[in-house]
């Protein structure tokens, strides 16, 4: 399918949602092309499972279609809302799979090639993705919420249903492990 990524950047999200509510299928396509890639990347990053990440992406977009009727233009930013929905969906899935309790268990790596491995040609990016993948689930999730979503520790604690102390501990351990794994690329990154 060859649809230009974000092929009409001049139209804002609120307008596209209004058009979708009026039954405009093209608006749905534009919204999908604009937001689905980031949702997929986020889900991939958190779940490390391509099939599950695709399911989460579809589900997050479905929530958008269903919420569109009550969406208030000028209110929440759609990308922020979608990130939050995606994160919640990922956490739900991880909870269902009891992954949150597997911090000390052996890593369960998806055998299929990671989307980042396929699409990120730069060695450094691939190395970062691999280093992040090797972190325990809860550490990876806390770091993602902290550094990609810019959430505060209390916000992360609320989302992960943990104490703030536990989040601080997860972040400290996660940062230590990730920094050690990325040490060889320190010069390239900084």
């Amino acid at each position: 399918m060859h649809i230009a990524f974000d092929s009409d950047i001049s139209v804002d999200d609120d307008t596209l949602i209004t058009r979708f509510n009026a039954g405009d299928h093209a608006a749905a396509r534009l919204l999908t092309m604009r937001h689905a890639p980031r949702i997929l990347a986020r889900a991939n990053r958190m779940l490390r499972n391509s099939a599950e990440a695709e399911d989460v992406t579809q589900e997050a977009m479905m929530r958008l279609w269903k919420t569109a009727a009550t969406w208030e233009p000028g209110g929440a930013k759609l990308s922020t809302w979608l990130h939050r929905v995606t994160t919640n969906l990922c956490i739900d899935r991880m909870r269902r799979a009891q992954s949150l309790d597997l911090e000390a268990a052996p890593e369960q790596i998806d055998d299929r090639p990671h989307a980042a491995d396929v699409l990120q040609s730069a060695d450094v990016s691939r190395h970062i993705a691999n280093a992040l993948d090797k972190l325990p689930d809860r550490q990876r999730m806390a770091l993602t919420l902290r550094f990609l979503d810019d959430l505060t520790n209390p916000e992360i604690a609320e989302m992960m249903e943990l104490s703030v102390d536990a989040v601080e501990s997860l972040l400290a351990r996660g940062k230590r492990s990730l920094a050690a794994a990325l040490d060889a690329h320190r010069d390239a990154l900084l």
Partner: protein, 124 residues
């Protein structure tokens, strides 16, 4: 001297920034896009169906011309019957005729006429 924690934070922030940039190049598969577009089309279709159904219900709730005529005629017949009953009772009881006529005109209800007659009768 720089705190190692600060450099670690900077390193990780830079790493995530790199990932974020790489993520923007990620393109969902055609199959996934089709699934998402299919969902959107389904939601649009459901809404269209719902709005058509709402319109049908509104049409169904509108009273028909026959319905209005029937209600008017039923009202006229009921009032006529009430007035006739009042006059008949008044004929039987001339003393209470004025009260009965006033009661009939005011309440337009045969029951009120009967009530007045009963009160008049009991006062005799």
């Amino acid at each position: 001297m720089t705190d190692p924690k600060d450099t670690d934070n900077a390193l990780i922030a830079a790493a995530f920034q790199r990932l974020e940039t790489a993520d923007q190049e990620l393109v969902p598969s055609d199959q996934l896009l089709e699934r998402i577009f299919g969902d959107a089309a389904e939601v649009i279709a459901e809404r269209n169906d719902a709005s058509v159904q709402d319109m049908s219900e509104v049409e169904a709730e509108k009273p028909s011309l026959f319905g209005w005529a029937y209600e008017v005629w039923a009202g006229v017949i009921a009032l006529t019957a009430a007035a006739a009953a009042g006059l008949f009772v008044g004929y039987l009881d001339p003393v209470g005729l004025g009260a009965l006529l006033m009661g009939t005109a005011a309440a337009e209800d045969g029951f009120s006429a009967v009530t007045v007659w009963l009160e008049g009768g009991s006062s005799l």
